[in-house]
């Protein structure tokens, strides 16, 4: 029941928010309360979850189209608990931010945000391929509207770009889903066996590669992250991208052992290329969102390296890093939004010197920046180290690329921190620009606090992602 409740609560909430004729603030406030209720529900779920078991838990199954083997089957594995946890926390922060800034047409806006949350949660718990596909698609529609209506000046181009890319991915995935289901005779992931069809695998892989995004499927990323409302960009890069991780973990890697074996090299090269490419561009891009966006792309490349190591280190590292990245990129995007609101721009050339007289902003941005660059001792460091260890199993060169990524991350993250906080006061920074307000802190600090807890104890996630079993066993035996 809990699985279904976690999906239904935000979607029902979306309907309520859309229908109730409340004032602007009341609508947004109700939406935020629903998002917090979702967090509470997740806490209940996690507290009842048996982290020592690697079995599917809280599972519910209903026949849907029996003749085609389609069912509504949902449930949690250890890693789904953590991915959903990151999702509900990040989306609550994003919805809270929309409340804080007072987005126009709040009934539509918040209904879409809540609907998006429900769709993401549904993707993470789906144990049936068609349900997975439907949830995957259901995420896109709110995103199109959110970007197309509430986006920046170039929102039309951004939306079109995003639509074209994601539709292409969806098309391939739908074909892959149908082909896989037809050849297996079922869409139930637990019942379906493995396939050695390279094309079906590629259909899934490309769809996930676009969603993540992986180099060179990231063409939608720069303009979308720049034009979307900042909290939508946060949700997009923080949690929507993680559906690709779930897809790789639950479907693409376990169900296609032979194609994975044949194509691992190619995917690892693309992951490594994305890591370096994203980092190098982040190092020179001229605006805050660009840095966070390309850094996000680099991180997804890194996570892919961990996933396709297909060993315990890489898989545990990839799950940990997915949770970390969701929390940190959402924090960073919201912080960027807060700076942009104060200065009217995110261009680095016009910023600077904001630390003076704004100690809270300086402290929070510094902490978030240090977690972004994975300073040793942080949760992101633990994740990167595990991924580096894991991918070494596939070749020492990949581990060296991860190490290079560590150095590049230091370069672009420090550049961002200094450009906002240090040296002389930028032309767009007025003296009246306030320090972070309590309302803003209430959104960012919980996420940063989660990251600090994970920094003190990363084993919390890595020990329980695959229950008592080893990640590699689960992927190469249980999930097949």
């Amino acid at each position: 029941m809990l699985s279904t409740a976690l999906i239904v609560l935000p979607i029902a909430g979306a309907l309520v928010v859309a229908v109730l004729p409340l004032t602007k603030t009341a609508t947004a406030g109700l939406s935020f309360l629903i998002a917090l209720g979702e967090v509470a529900l997740w806490i209940v779920t996690a507290s009842r979850f048996d982290f020592n078991s690697s079995q599917l838990q809280f599972s519910t199954s209903h026949e849907w189209v029996q003749s085609l083997g389609i069912s509504y089957t949902v449930g949690f594995y250890g890693f789904s608990i953590w991915l959903v946890g990151a999702t509900v926390v990040c989306s609550a922060a994003a919805i809270g931010y929309a409340l804080w800034v007072g987005r126009d047409r709040p009934r539509a806006y918040h209904a879409l945000m809540l609907g998006l949350t429900g769709a993401v949660v549904s993707t993470f718990v789906a144990q049936d391929l068609l349900l997975f596909y439907a949830s995957f698609e259901a995420m896109l529609i709110p995103l199109y509207v959110l970007i197309g209506v509430w986006g920046g000046a170039k929102r039309n181009v951004a939306t079109l770009t995003f639509v074209v890319y994601t539709m292409a991915g969806s098309l391939l995935m739908l074909a892959a889903v149908v082909a896989f289901g037809v050849t297996q005779g079922t869409f139930d992931l637990a019942q379906a066996g493995t396939s050695d069809n390279v094309w079906i695998f590629l259909g899934f892989a490309v769809a996930f590669a676009i969603k993540a995004p992986l180099f060179p499927f990231h063409g939608w990323l720069p303009i979308t992250y720049r034009e979307a409302p900042v909290e939508v960009a946060a949700v997009l890069s923080g949690i929507v991208s993680k559906t690709a991780v779930y897809g790789f973990l639950r479907i693409a890697i376990p169900k296609f052992p032979d194609p994975v074996h044949d194509l691992t090299g190619l995917i690892l090269v693309l992951g490594g290329a994305g890591l370096v490419y994203g980092s190098v561009l982040a190092f020179r891009t001229s605006d805050l969102r660009g840095i966070v966006a390309y850094s996000s792309m680099a991180q997804m490349g890194l996570i892919t390296l961990g996933l396709f190591s297909v060993n315990d280190y890489g898989l545990d590292g990839a799950v940990l890093q997915s949770v970390n990245h969701a929390l940190i990129t959402t924090s960073m995007f919201l912080l960027v939004g807060m700076v942009e609101r104060r200065c009217g721009t995110g261009e680095l050339g016009h910023l600077g010197g904001m630390a003076r007289g704004r100690p809270v902003l300086a402290t929070v941005l510094m902490v978030a920046g240090m977690i972004t660059l994975a300073v040793p001792g942080s949760a992101t460091f633990a994740g990167e180290f595990l991924i580096m260890t894991g991918v070494y199993g596939k070749g020492w060169g990949y581990a060296v690329i991860v190490a290079l990524g560590v150095v590049l991350a230091a370069m672009y993250a420090l550049r961002l921190i200094s450009a906002v906080l240090h040296v002389r006061t930028g032309s767009a920074v007025r003296d009246e620009a306030l320090d972070l307000r309590v309302g803003e802190l209430a959104l960012v600090v919980p996420m940063v606090a989660c990251l600090l807890v994970l920094s003190a104890w990363p084993a919390l996630v890595t020990e329980s992602s695959f229950g008592g079993d080893k990640g590699s066993q689960v992927l190469t035996q249980r999930f097949r």
């Binding site: 181009v157 079109l160 770009t161 074209v164 098309l171 739908l174 074909a175 892959a176 149908v178 082909a179 037809v182 050849t183 094309w199 079906i200 063409g219 939608w220 720069p222 303009i223 490419y277 190098v280 561009l281 190092f283 020179r284 315990d312 280190y313 545990d316 590292g317 630390a355 003076r356 100690p359 402290t363 510094m366 240090m370 300073v375 040793p376 001792g377 460091f381 633990a382 180290f385 595990l386 260890t389 070494y392 199993g393 581990a399 190490a403 290079l404 560590v406 150095v407 370069m411 420090l414 200094s418 240090h422 040296v423 104890w457 990363p458 084993a459 890595t462 080893k470 990640g471 590699s472």
Partner: protein, 631 residues
């Protein structure tokens, strides 16, 4: 109960950092300083407690491993949040918390009146915690965590005055250069995980023998990379002189007494690995030699007093690398300890001068300070004599022990290191006393800055919180080396040799004989500096050489051309030739193409939606057929 003191030692500074950060403006600036100072001395007390507990144990049984909880788990790898309390870590804990406590106390006076004292003391407490974590850690990953966190604290403190572009640039440079070291260190740890399945020191050391030679060499190289960056040894040294942009107590604590010597600690701690990779260990010694000579030469021509001391630090750490590289582990740690005393003393005394002169650091604008600052003068002189290794002063016992070990090591390598090291003592005498004479002797420079800064005149040479630490450190610089008198009294060497048995032990005759030569060369250096000073000329007279040294051997320019510019160029090329034309524009074309097609189709068909639906269905059908049929 042996480890309780060590845990207190570790967590007291962290508690102080949290307290200062979370209370914010509730506490006064001075209270923040007091909290940080007390916490560091509590840490020292914890270390002393642990020391006596461990000393009571039998010598063969002094390795106490204590795990708080499991920090990271993946597959079969379990990494605990664990500390190792043994004779080596205890010496380091005592140095870090003891010297650290004195320097934090000094900061209370030095930073008084700064806008952001609370932030300063929070950072200092974070640093002390991180440094203690580094030396107390019981495994390589937690060591790396401490390693990275001291780098973070160093970054924050170098860039403490963040309005100054030079300070921010220096902070970033230090961080990035150390990130390179962190990365090679991490790679070494990755190799260890695959080779030994553990990162605990003893687990790793037990299995080093069964690793292939290539693997041991690679692990040792990775660790050495980390050590070179952290300890500012050539070729990863260029960040340290720039780091002098930070407040002077920071330079004393982080960039002289403790953090920069972490590389030496690593070489000694991981000696079972380095001993299996003798080439890498020798490389450490040779790089130490090169650094000690190069830094000694560059120090001869610098004008900024803090930069001279910074180059001197690089040079002295070079001696420690030299010692650790030939297996004289106890002496390397011994020199690390005396260096912490006399270099902190020099920096803090220099801080009194800078404080008095209202921020002036150029020695050309100083002179005759002996009369204005008599006590500071004495402290600086004690530190200088210890640095040049003049008998009975602390550096004499430790540096000469390293040189004697090189002599005892023998062979081509031993002799090269020995002769190079001796040359270094001459350079040390020359640059140290060039600085000393310029600052304290001669006539006061015209319009001395002191006259322009009456604000500090009322408390003479500085508040007691500053003079007390300087005094204690001056005493330690004088007598702090008396824990090793060759052939007579060698408690420190005995204490350490149980955990890190030396590969080379000089005879008493080698010790005293080598000292005679080294002291003579040091005195000649002092004499040369003195003559040059009173003759009103420079020690380096060749203009070409002067320029080469003044430009710090062009390392910055070289790295700029080799790494920074190519990185920028690569980024620009990727953006201009790949990202924009290929990735972004192609998309525009797809986009407009879709619109066109959509438009065309829309004219033929009745509605877009139905068209799209139909097109998608058709496309999916085709794809499914292709997927299933075409194999």
């Amino acid at each position: 109960m042996t480890v309780a003191g060590a845990w207190i030692c570790l967590f007291a500074p962290l508690a102080a950092a949290l307290l200062i950060t979370l209370t914010g403006q509730v506490i006064s600036r001075r209270t923040a300083g007091v909290i940080a100072t007390l916490a560091t001395f509590v840490a020292f007390a914890g270390a002393v407690w642990s020391f006596f507990e461990v000393r009571a144990e039998s010598p063969s049984d002094r390795e106490n491993l204590s795990t708080l909880y499991t920090w990271l788990v993946a597959g079969n790898l379990h990494v605990g949040f664990q500390i190792l309390v043994d004779p080596l870590s205890l010496v380091m804990m005592l140095i870090v918390s003891g010297v650290g406590g004195l320097i934090v106390l000094y900061s209370v006076g030095y930073m008084h009146g700064d806008d952001e004292e609370r932030r300063y003391f929070a950072y200092m407490s974070i640093f002390v915690f991180a440094m203690l974590l580094l030396v107390e850690s019981g495994n390589f990953l937690l060591l790396l965590v401490g390693w990275g966190l001291v780098g973070l604290a160093s970054y924050l403190l170098i860039g403490f005055w963040h309005q100054r572009p030079e300070a921010v640039a220096a902070a970033k440079k230090a961080f990035v250069m150390n990130a390179i070291g962190d990365a090679t260190f991490a790679l070494a740890a990755v190799l260890l995980v695959w080779q030994t399945g553990t990162l605990e020191y003893f687990g790793v050391f037990d299995q080093v023998g069964s690793m292939s030679q290539t693997m041991v060499d690679l692990v040792a190289l990775g660790l050495l990379g980390g050590a070179l960056a952290k300890s500012a040894q050539i070729p990863l040294h260029t960040w340290l002189p720039d780091a002098m942009e930070g407040p002077t107590p920071v330079s004393a604590l982080i960039h002289a007494a403790t953090m920069v010597t972490a590389g030496v600690y690593l070489l000694v701690r991981a000696s079972p690995i380095f001993e299996q990779a003798p080439h890498v260990q020798h490389l450490a010694a040779v790089l130490g030699l090169i650094t000690l000579l190069a830094a000694g030469l560059v120090a001869l021509v610098q004008w900024d007093i803090k930069r001279v001391i910074a180059y001197s630090t690089m040079s002295q750490i070079g001696y420690m690398f030299l010692g650790a590289g030939i297996g004289a582990y106890g002496f390397a740690i011994f020199h690390l300890m005396t260096h912490a005393f006399f270099k902190a003393c020099l920096f803090l005394a220099a801080g009194v001068v800078i404080h008095r002169l209202d921020g002036e650091q150029d020695m050309r604008k100083m002179g005759g300070l002996r009369k204005a600052l008599p006590r500071t003068h004495l402290a600086f002189l004690a530190g200088s004599l210890a640095l040049v290794a003049i008998p009975i002063f602390a550096g004499f016992w430790s540096k000469d022990a390293i040189l004697a070990s090189a002599l005892a090591y023998g062979g081509a390598l031993g002799w090269t290191l020995y002769i190079g090291g001796l040359l270094g003592t001459f350079l040390t005498g020359a640059y140290t006393f060039r600085l000393y004479y310029r600052m304290f002797h001669g006539e006061p420079a015209e319009a001395p800055a002191a006259a322009a800064a009456p604000s500090h005149a009322e408390h003479g040479e500085g508040p007691r919180s500053m003079l007390l630490p300087v005094g204690v450190l001056a005493v330690l610089s004088t007598i702090g080396g008396l824990v090793y008198i060759p052939g007579v009294w060698e408690p420190l060497e005995t204490w350490l040799s149980e955990v890190v048995p030396p590969l080379v032990v000089p005879t008493t005759a080698q010790d005293w004989g080598s000292s005679a030569i080294a002291v003579t060369l040091g005195l000649i250096g002092i004499f040369v500096a003195r003559r040059a000073f009173y003759a009103g000329r420079q020690i380096v007279t060749n203009p070409g050489l002067w320029r080469l040294l003044e430009q710090k051997l062009y390392f910055d320019e070289l790295y700029d051309a080799l790494f920074y510019r190519p990185a920028v160029a690569l980024s620009n090329v990727l953006r201009r030739d790949v990202e924009e034309p290929v990735i972004e524009r192609s998309l525009d074309e797809i986009g407009s193409g879709t619109l066109q097609v959509g438009g065309e189709v829309a004219r033929v068909q009745s509605g877009l939606l139905r068209t799209y639906a139909l097109a998608i269905a058709a496309a999916v059908f085709v794809l499914v057929v292709v997927f299933v049929a075409v194999r």
